[in-house]
């Protein structure tokens, strides 16, 4: 299994990844945790917006759009070796 840790922003559409670390601090971190992004949460990349940013993710049953500023600071590890669904 691929243990490489990468930013959430980099995972392709359809792929799932498990959150390792939140790099952002302060209220941004709090907000992300409140919507369920903690270590171990599995996130699925669903859909890019027309300009490629923000990107929509499936987080604990809800679809949340994150800008690259946020998603680049969420470190994840791949769950499925990036097999496109």
């Amino acid at each position: 299994m691929d243990e490489k840790v990468i930013p959430l922003q980099k995972i392709p559409i359809g792929a799932k990844a498990k959150v390792k670390t939140l790099l952002s601090m302060g209220s941004v971190r709090g907000r992300l945790q409140d919507i369920g992004l903690i270590e171990g949460t599995v996130v699925e990349c669903l859909q890019k917006s027309p300009a490629g940013d923000p990107i929509a993710y499936l987080i604990r049953g809800a679809v949340i759009a994150l800008r690259s500023e946020e998603s680049s600071k969420i470190l994840v590890e791949s769950c499925d070796g990036y097999v496109h669904v």
Binding site: S24, S27, V28, G30, R31, L32, Q33, D34, I35, G36, I38, E39, T41, L46, Q47, K48, S49, P50, A51, G52, D53, P54, A56, L58, I59, R60, G61, A62, V63, I64, A65, L66, R67, E69, E70
Partner: protein, 617 residues
Amino acid sequence: MSTSNITISLVGNPNVGKSSIFNQLTGLNQHTGNWPGKTVVTARGRYVFENREYALVDTPGAYSLTAHSPEEEATSEFVRSGEASVIVVICDATCLERNLNLVLQILEVTQRVVICVNLMDEARKKKISIDLEKLERELGVPVIGAEALTGAGMRKLMRAIASESQKADGLPEIKESSVFERVKKAESICAACVHYGKADYNALDRRIDRLLTSRWSGPLIMLTLLALVFWLTIIGANYPSAALSKFFFWIEGGMLAFLENIQAPGWVSGLFITGIYRVLSWVVAVMLPPMAIFFPLFTFLEDLGYLPRVAFNMDYYFKKCRACGKQALTMCMGFGCNAAAVIGCRIIDSPRERLIAVLTNSFVPCNGRFPAIIALIAMFFAVPTVRTASAASNSILSALLLTAVILSGILLTLFMSRILSRTILQGVPSSFTLELPPFRKPRLSKIIVRSLLDRTLFVLARAVIVSVPAGAIVWLMNNITVGGLSLLQLSTQTLDPFARFIGLDGTILMAFILGFPANEIVIPIIIMAYASANGITSYESLAQLKVLFIDHGWTWLTALCMIIFSLSHWPCSTTCLTIYKETRSVKWTALACAVPTFSGLLICFVLTAAVRLLGGA
């Protein structure tokens, strides 16, 4: 009936149907819509259950009690204050796990809680089953399933609230868990209580989303929908507008004849018919039909859940201007009413970005303005010729031109947002998390009742209230003479040299100034001022109106400049007042007037100079 003070508070994540539950319980018509952040002010209502009265407080949506926005702070303070006897936490059955974070947090503050799992019908459709009894055992407080749209579960909810409110004050165990512990607990509770009938329960939503937000189809659908909504508004409003005009004209004839019969003095028919009645009938005939069509269409898109997708599609461009993507939502609300949209700007968390949204909101023409723009387009730019005589092709052209006007308004919004964030509102874009809620099938009856009663009649009533004194004032200005000239002539002549620079004339500029209380009355003021000079009495159709305008020196450039100035001038008085209330600052209110006014003046000036230089018009 006892009127004991039992205060019940509705708390929950954004967009879980708190306002719908509130409406079901109280019978009130609190505005609802399928997008997070709809409720930005705390609503209060009452209901009676088994002879006891309950005061109900609806709070803005919050993801947690750890406040990250002013709305969450308000909700958090309210929960912690202990003002509410019982707190009803509303959850979305289709997304229970995320909702439980807030539930668990509230349970650490108080145990007098009733959990209402709303949208059970949506969950059923998605083959999600929730074991409510098990959930109740896990959480230790009553759990009620509900469908706010149909009202199912409301009696049960009221009963649970009643018995909970009579319970003795049980102190909660004082323990503050970490967000990590709560999320983990929510996960394990859901694993035990929620069963998914099919793994891809959101497959249809995802397919629709791929269509609505992908690189090519996303913007295309957005533009098409915009043009389509305008086309339906224009073509649908055409006949009722003409019929209403005829009807009002017929009534006018009758009233004039009556006044003549009773030998009323000339100023009576002047003030009441030429002044008040004509402005009033123009406002109703020209404004009511487009509103009555536009508002239901807009409400349909809103209830469906399309608006957050617009914000998702457009966020990148707002980010480039260092603003918030949710500004797209407040922009959309501006089509209805700029004042309402300014209040709606509270959904933007960062104060800097919220100010940008407030200051640029009036670049989107509200319902008081775009019917006038439609009329100008129909008179000067989508003129039926022999070749394109069909009404349908003409209305399509009108709709496309209106769409182009709106798009320039959106570009202006982006451009000014950028300038503001480079100058007086400097800063970096704040974090952005936008929830894309599941699509919900709008209920037609609800849309029609709500959009007609809450929006159309509300906006129309405001315009009518303003048009009565405005009609009177303009008539008086037109008929009180100083040194051989009427007050209106005097003021328009003073404004005229300046107005010519920006492609307008003194009368048009005067009408915009007098139209400050409500933009609906701008065109009727122009008509009254021109008509009195002509001595002609009434204008039933746009074609007659065009003749009147051309008689007063209008060209396509005048019409274009007037459209631009409608799009970009000071906000109406209601909006200004709202901006002051929201910002608590004269400076920002003044700037909210200055920004669109100066850009409007500048564009009109440059355009007029360029056209005159090139010898056109």
